[in-house]
Structures are given as structure tokens and as C-alpha cells.
Amino acid sequence: MATDVMIEASGLTKRFGGVRALDKVSFEVRRGEVVGFLGPNGAGKSTTMRILTCFISPTTGSAKVSGHDVFDSPLEVRRAIGYLPQRAPLYTDMSVYDYLRFVAEIRGLDESAFKSRLKKVVEVCGLAQSLGKDIGTLSHGYRQRVGLGQALIHDPPILILDEPTSDLDPNEKAEVLRYIKQIGKDRTILLSTHNLAEVEEACARAIIVSKGRVVADGALDDIRGKTGRVRYVVAIDEKRAEAGNSAPSAEAARTALERIDGARSVKELPTDESLHKFELIGPQNSDLRADIFRLVVAKGWTLLELRRDAQSLDAVFRDLTRGDEKLDRGAGWKASEPEDDEDDDDSTSDEDDDDDSDEASDNHSSARKA
């Protein structure tokens, strides 16, 4: 294949009746990338994956997988992918071995190829003990493994995994993620989840969808920086101070920190040590650490901790997808209803929301190019 783009979605829109489940979703996944597909429940992750696996068709827009159009050549597309649908629906009346064999037969693997792949898959997914068991008797975690096993049986170049780690215990999760990382070296993997820690562990890139739209797409670090703020944690000893100075009260320390140029929303964090701990937010692309340090020295206080975080992915995720939650709780109904018939970008129409989300959607178009 001439191109390196393994999955290409352009302008995917899907309506279910009057509901727009996907709205012009576009992204690309290149060979060898492990991409986390993130979003709250109902954001359109599974719908997108079903379109990519040719289970359903988009209302408008097109997608190519491994160079084949999902509409024109679904069989070629499906041959190139291994797909694990959400919750791993399997034939519960079959044994694990029979099931894997069934899948291999449909995929046209011959006896010897099946044998060697089976060995590999059993090893990777930890199925040796359960090969002879009926799938119906297995726990959810094991079913998930079987589902993963069937997706891998033909050694596909592209894997599409819809919440592969749901229903797994922490050990199994770690194991699956480790495996995804390992096979992701020479394969293309698109994996959906709403667990951010998993994305941070296994993926280098993430696509965040919310209400059927892509709200962020890029390297994890880019996405973290997306909301345009940096978080600092400062801890100051509440008892000790340099000779001639008094130990700071919480109020005094907070006022002093607020006076730092660029600092905003200084917040005291709870702690059970004898210190004052503050969180403050600073502008992106700047570093307030030197200012904070100098301030503390000038006051004669004792600095116990000073940390600068790019914002956590968790917080970015919440920021970018905040509208969903509000809708579910019944707020913002009026604000979002007319949104159905327009196409402007700042759909996150929350009254009390500051300009973060707008910044975010501006940023993401640039991140997508990157």
C-alpha cells in the first residue's frame, strides 16, 4: 500500500432518526499508531467503530480502512481488521476452542495456520485453561479474553477494540494493556475506552469525542496542554520561617500568591501535615515557578514543595466533554436544542463556562494537523 494511513474517516455523520449520533467526525490513524478513542458514554465511540467495521453505514461521509472504502468493499475491510465489539458478545453455547475455530474457518485460515495462530493467541490471551470450556460458563473477564483472541486469530494489521478492558480485573487490565502496547509496535490499533489511565498507559495519541464530534485529536501531551493552563502545587511550612519573619497564615500566603503576575484561581488544598498547600493555575507556555520561589524567599517562608503539572488528561477530558454531563442532568436544554440545525464550532454552550472550551476547539484543529 502506497499510503501509510490505515484508517481514514472523513466527515462521518450518522443520524438515528432525529438524533445525530455522529457529526462530521474526521480523523486518520497511521500504520503503527496506537490511538485511544475517548469520550463519555453515548458520545459516538461505538457508532464510529461500527461504521469502520462496516456493521452500519454512515448517513453521510466516508471512511477507508487499509485503503478500502467501507461502503464499496466491506469484505476487504473486514479481512484487514480484528474487531472486538463492546462487551464481547460471543456464542455462549460454544466452547472456546470451537469458537476460535469457527472464526478462523470463516476467515479462511487453513488447519496448520490455525494451529500456530491458536498457540500464539492462547499464550497471549491466557486461554490455555479454558479452551475446552463453554463460553457461557466463563466470567466476563475471560469472555473478554476470548473476544480479544478472536480478534487476533488471523494476525490482522489493524485492530479495532471497543472497550477491551471493561469487565477486567486490574491484573487482567494491565496484562491486556501491556499486550496492546507490545503488538502495537507494528500494527494499527484504535481502542475506545472511557478510562483515561489506560490511554495514558497504552497510547501515544488520543481522539476525544463528545456529543458526536471530535473535540480533540493529537498526541497526549498536546491534548493535555489544550485547555491553555498549567497547574502549580505549592506547599509552604506553616510553622517555620526565617529569623525575623513570622510564619505565614493561610490567608497571608494565599494573598501573596495571588499577587504573582499571571497566577489565577489560587485554591488551598486540604492536607493533614502542618503546611499550607495551594493549587494555582497559570497561563500556558509560561513558568511561574521562579516567581513563586522568589516570593517565598523574599517573605522568609519555607518552601516544602513546588510542582508544575501540565494539566492532567482527566481534567482536559472533563473540560472538553462537560456539555454532555450537563445535558444528562437536564441543564442547558434550551442552550443546546437549536444546535441541531447549525454547524458552528462552539457548541459547548454553557452559560457559566469560561472560554476554555472555545480555546480547546481552536487548538484542536491545529493539533489535528500536527
Binding site: 462496516c54 456493521f55 452500519i56 466491506p74 473486514r78 474487531y83 465489539p85 460454544m94 469457527f102 470463516i106
Partner: protein
């Protein structure tokens, strides 16, 4: 092996993974035996070396019990449990899925149908020879039964691919097949006074019972063959469309 055959094989075998198939087989043979030997005087009273009664009653057993039970889960259950998504996203075309399921289910029905060969052979060839049996009507009777099974199975498959749950699929298939069977009686009732008009004629034309009765007597009419084949193809085609519908719903 083509994907279609693989699906058919799985479908066929899955019947034997649950007790349902065994129960249905036992029940239907028990019922057939009762009807054959007891109902309306029974086989012995008729006192003829003929198994026409078999061909008369077997389709009823198939219509009212076997086909609805065998076909009800085909698509409805897979859609409900989500395995349909798993199946369709394998490299199989929708027609592979429809045909695979059709042949898988038809396979089980035909096993039952062919098991009734015990009647003509057991009673008239070996170990008992109750009289000289004309094998012509037996052969044509089985041909009719096989064609009927295909049509009934395709109807069940179609209903299953439209129904929300297998219970709904069972009842709808049951009623459709029962209606198609009793159209014959309804037509006779309506035209009893000799002034039924066109409606009884149409009913008679569609009645499975009327269509089959020729086969029982050794009459192989191409119109009847064509009728069953057309019903089968039409239902499979609509089932295929029903399965495709998921893409656009």
C-alpha cells in the same frame, strides 16, 4: 470451506447444544405417531398400503412446532445478544449470513423429515412387509415435504430477522404458517354456498395444504414446485434486506 457453509454448520450444530432440539424432535415424532396411527381411525382402519397420512400430518407438525422453534432464534436472538455484530463484522457478506442460517435450520428440519422414512421403509420393506407399497407417491410426497420445509423455514427466518425477540418470532411464525395451512379450509368454508367470488380462489392458490396435496397422490406439478421455490426465494430476499436494514436504521 466457504463462510456460508461454516455458518450453516455452526447453526446446525448449535441446535444440539441445547436440549430444545431433542425435546422438539421427540415431541414431533410422538405427535406424528399419534396422528398417523390413531387420528380419525388411524392407519389400521384405513386398511390400505399407503403412507399418505404421513405426508398429510407431517407438514402440520413442522408448521406448528418444529419450524417455529428451529427458526425463532436464528436472527432475533443474535441481534438481542449482540453476537450478530460479531458475526457480521467477520469477513462475510450479508447473503452468506442469511443463507448460512437458512441452510443450518433447514438441515435440522430435513433431518427430521428424512427420519420419517422409517415409516414407509419400516412397515413396507423391512422388517415388516404389510403390503405392496407404491413408491412413486412416496417419492413425490417427500419431494413436496422438502419443498414445503424450505418455504416454511425461509418464512421463519424472515420473521426472526424482523422480530424483536425469539418469543415474538415463534408466535408470528406459528400464526403465519398456520394461516397458510388453513387457507384451504377457509376457502372451502367461504365458497360453500358456491358464491365466494375471487377471494376463496386466491386463498386456495396460496394454501400450503392445497399445494402439497398433489404431491401426496404422486402428482408433481411444476406450478406447485415453482410456488414453494418462489416463496423460499422471496422470503430469503426480504430477510436479506431486513438484515441490511441495520445499516441505515
Amino acid at each position: 470451506m466457504s463462510p456460508m457453509l461454516t455458518i450453516a454448520k455452526r447453526e446446525f450444530r448449535s441446535n444440539f447444544d441445547s436440549p430444545l432440539a431433542y425435546v422438539v424432535i421427540c415431541l414431533s415424532f410422538f405427535a406424528l405417531g399419534l396422528m398417523f396411527f390413531m387420528l380419525q381411525g388411524g392407519f389400521w382402519q384405513a386398511d390400505r398400503s399407503s403412507v399418505e397420512r404421513l405426508f398429510e400430518y407431517a407438514p402440520m407438525g413442522l408448521s406448528f412446532l418444529v419450524v417455529p422453534v428451529v427458526t425463532m432464534r436464528l436472527v432475533a436472538e443474535e441481534r438481542r445478544s449482540g453476537t450478530l455484530e460479531m458475526l457480521i463484522t467477520l469477513p462475510v457478506s450479508d447473503s452468506d449470513v442469511v443463507l448460512g442460517k437458512f441452510f443450518g435450520a433447514l438441515g435440522l428440519v430435513l433431518v427430521l423429515v428424512l427420519a420419517t422414512l422409517l415409516y414407509p421403509f419400516g412397515m413396507f420393506k423391512w422388517p415388516w412387509v404389510l403390503g405392496p407399497l407404491d413408491m412413486g407417491p412416496v417419492a413425490s410426497g417427500y419431494l413436496g415435504l422438502i419443498l414445503f420445509s424450505a418455504a416454511a423455514t425461509s418464512i421463519g427466518l424472515l420473521v426472526s430477522s424482523l422480530a424483536e425477540s425469539q418469543a415474538v418470532a415463534f408466535f408470528i411464525t406459528f400464526f403465519v404458517l398456520a394461516a397458510l395451512w388453513f387457507f384451504d379450509n377457509a376457502a372451502q368454508y367461504l365458497s360453500a354456498g358456491g358464491n365466494g367470488g375471487w377471494f376463496p380462489t386466491v386463498l386456495l392458490y396460496m394454501s400450503f395444504q392445497t399445494r402439497l396435496s398433489g404431491f401426496w397422490r404422486g402428482l408433481v406439478d411444476t406450478r406447485d414446485i415453482l410456488f414453494f421455490v418462489s416463496v423460499t426465494l422471496l422470503c430469503l430476499l426480504v430477510a436479506f434486506r431486513a438484515l441490511e436494514r441495520r445499516k441505515w436504521a
